[in-house]
């Protein structure tokens, strides 16, 4: 079991290392303001990645997250324009995300179609529907949206603050931690991701768990979309293209095994923050081009995947030694 903790330790070491690099090279890096902004700017990706963690833990994948964020943004913007309260719109959208996720989970499990392809169709569908609803960016003008945007809890030290986006993210994290580690559903997710066949034999309700995982992910994706819409104060059909990749990358860098069964929600948060830190570092530097972000994240992905492979190999080697 100790070897399995290694990826998350590596994640935290990388996070601290990046922070140290920033502090060493740039004057204003180690301030609460930079930290607060890091949380705010990456809140929506991290929320989406938290949902993705459950999907990947169960041995699946969801490609529709980015489209869902765009869809939520545009629907919310249009509903608010038509006089809805943002919170009512949010509630309706959360129910929608839950139902769509559950439907995807059902199709995946009942018809044994690969999650990759099923979620690909909903990725197309949601992106297309967003464009059908509106081709252009729709602004969100509502007192609630303004209050959300200007909400601040100052940190005890420094000039930084905790934004509403960051608070929603922290709330999502707490909910996810409870679900993952304190409920039977959470244990079942780990079980079917580890070995679906054995889980079924042990009496784990596989169908219910798979449907639940995708429904839960749908809810997290919608919340990410709501945060993103309020963060940008608008809905745009081409928003958040490729966020599903960022979310998957955050989960992998956070130490979750892509084969399922092993990983921690908290690791994903660090994975998301690491990506955010890389971006912040490159912006702070000012001379590096933005494409370095993609290359560095790709490189980190590679390192972490190889690291996981090595650890899994040594774990299985140890296991077979113990059995002999």
């Amino acid at each position: 079991m100790r070897e399995r903790r290694l990826p998350i330790l590596a994640t935290i070491v990388v996070f601290l290392l990046l922070y140290a690099i920033g502090g060493f090279y740039f004057n204003n890096f180690l301030t609460t303001r930079v930290f607060g902004n890091l949380l705010t700017d990456n809140a929506f990706v991290i929320i989406a990645a938290i949902g993705m963690t459950f999907v990947i833990l169960s041995g699946g994948i969801d490609l529709s997250v980015g489209s869902m964020i765009a869809f939520v943004g545009i629907v919310m913007a249009v509903l608010v324009r038509d006089g809805w309260h943002p919170l009512t719109a949010a509630l309706v959208l959360i129910v929608f995300g839950f139902l769509l996720g559950a439907l995807m989970g059902y199709i995946i499990d009942a018809f044994e179609i690969q999650p990759f392809i099923v979620t690909l169709t909903s990725m197309f569908m949601l992106r297309g529907l967003s464009a059908v609803i509106s081709q252009d960016s729709v602004p969100i003008n509502h007192p609630f949206a303004e209050a959300f945007g200007s909400f601040r809890i100052p940190f005890p030290i420094g000039k930084g603050w905790l934004s509403a986006e960051a608070l929603v993210m922290i709330a999502c994290l707490i909910v996810a931690l409870i679900i993952a580690h304190r409920t039977r559903f959470g244990a079942n997710v780990y079980a079917i991701g580890g070995d679906a066949q054995s889980a079924l034999l042990l009496g784990v309700p596989v169908r219910k768990t798979v449907v639940g995982v995708y429904a839960l992910n749908g809810v997290f994706a919608v919340v990410a979309g709501i945060v993103y819409a309020l963060y940008t104060s608008s809905g745009y059909p081409l928003a958040a293209v490729g966020v599903e990749l960022d979310a998957i990358a955050a989960v992998v860098i956070g130490g979750t095994l892509l084969t399922g069964g092993v990983g921690l929600v908290i690791g994903t948060v660090f994975g998301g923050l690491i990506q955010g830190l890389i971006q912040t570092l490159i912006i702070f530097d000012g001379t590096l081009d933005s494409w370095w972000i993609r290359i560095v994240i790709g490189g980190l992905l590679f390192v972490f995947i190889v690291l996981q492979k090595g650890i899994m190999r040594s774990v299985t080697a140890l296991g077979s030694q113990g059995a002999a």
């Binding site: 009942a110 018809f111 690909l120 169709t121 197309f124 990749l245």
Partner: protein, 341 residues
């Protein structure tokens, strides 16, 4: 048990290409009803024009990539990085056009770059044993960064008679790029069916450890499959970049991986590997492309493209799902209803 497992095989007396062809025929008939002039082909200034030609013409980049994808999927793999490889090869091509290299040399270098990208993916999958989705995700994420790096600031544009005629020109009234598709198809078909390579890939796809025990060089076969799709993607990159006469690293080849995978799936191949249907895949490409064309012709706004595409794909997938087929069989009182594994 053995009797039950043998059943679906025995049922398949029709060649697998029938279903995709039927879907394509339905699509084309609908197109013909929507637009009576759909099937007309005109000769204007020594070049054929018409909706059918247009479908073939626009489908070329996806067709090139999808044929490679069919092989990779046959080996039980998948390649998400093809769009990034398109961008990288476009950037390499533009770079050397600016350096005034010989066009044939540029083609060679660009295809070599594609092969290199494929080797990288193949090495991750076969040597390190990383899942294909994840292994190719790395290049998908980082690839466009490399393309931007090669491009430097801005989007490099160029003029090159050689590449323009290769991509948008015509030969004997038929667009040049269509010859290219035929050429790649013939080469791959010969490689798959006239040598043992195809058999080996399918063996690796159906049961990797069994074929390793049977003496198939699983690693080399897997790496070769990814190298092939790398070269295919680079070829598509040459066509796409030659068409727009610019190397746009951000949007060039965006989402082609999805279309290519869909084409393979529409062609009737399972993502679980084991079978390569090259011709079916091309029919799959034509289905996707004529779907796009019909949406445009039917007067629906182009935004509906993705929605309709998603619905069609979902229907095709559900129809193909063995689970649904067996439950329908139960519904109609067939005795083969006990298929449960």
């Amino acid at each position: 048990m053995t009797e039950l497992k043998a059943k679906p095989e025995a049922k398949r007396s029709l060649p697998t290409i029938v279903w995709p062809l039927l879907a394509l025929a339905v699509m084309l008939v609908i197109d013909g009803i929507i637009n009576p002039s759909f099937f007309s082909i005109r000769l204007v200034e020594g070049r054929l024009y018409g909706s059918l030609i247009d479908i073939l013409y626009r489908g070329t980049p996806i067709a090139l990539i999808a044929m490679g994808m069919a092989i990779v999927i046959g080996s039980r793999g998948i390649d998400l990085s093809v769009g990034s490889v398109v961008a990288i090869s476009g950037a390499v091509m533009a770079h050397y056009i600016h350096a005034d290299w010989n066009p044939w040399l540029i083609v060679l270098v660009t295809l070599g770059m594609g092969a290199f990208c494929g080797l990288w993916n193949g090495a991750l999958v076969s040597l390190l044993g990383i899942q294909p989705i994840i292994a190719t995700l790395i290049l998908m994420v980082a690839g466009r960064g490399f393309a931007l790096m090669i491009n430097g600031p801005g989007i490099p544009t160029f003029r090159s008679e050689f590449f323009e005629s290769l991509s948008t020109g015509q030969f004997l009234t038929i667009p040049t790029r269509l010859y290219l598709v035929v050429l790649v198809f013939v080469i791959l078909w010969a490689l798959l069916r006239k040598t043992a390579f195809g058999l080996f890939v399918e063996a690796v796809g159906s049961n990797a450890s069994a074929s390793r025990l049977a003496g198939v060089g699983t690693r080399v076969i897997t790496i070769a499959a990814y190298a092939i799709i790398g070269v295919c993607s680079a070829t598509a990159g040459i066509i796409i970049t030659g068409d727009v006469r610019a190397s746009d690293a951000v949007t060039s080849g965006l989402y082609t991986e999805l279309d290519a995978i869909l084409a393979v799936v529409l062609g009737g191949a399972s993502l679980n590997g084991g079978r390569i249907y090259l011709a079916n895949t091309l029919v799959g490409v034509l289905i996707i492309q004529s779907l796009t064309t019909s949406i445009l012709m039917s007067g629906l706004p182009p935004e509906y493209n993705l929605v309709v595409k998603a619905i069609v794909i979902l229907v095709v997938l559900l129809v193909q799902a063995p689970k649904l087929r067996s439950s329908i069989a139960v519904l109609f009182g067939s005795r083969g209803g006990k298929v449960k594994s």
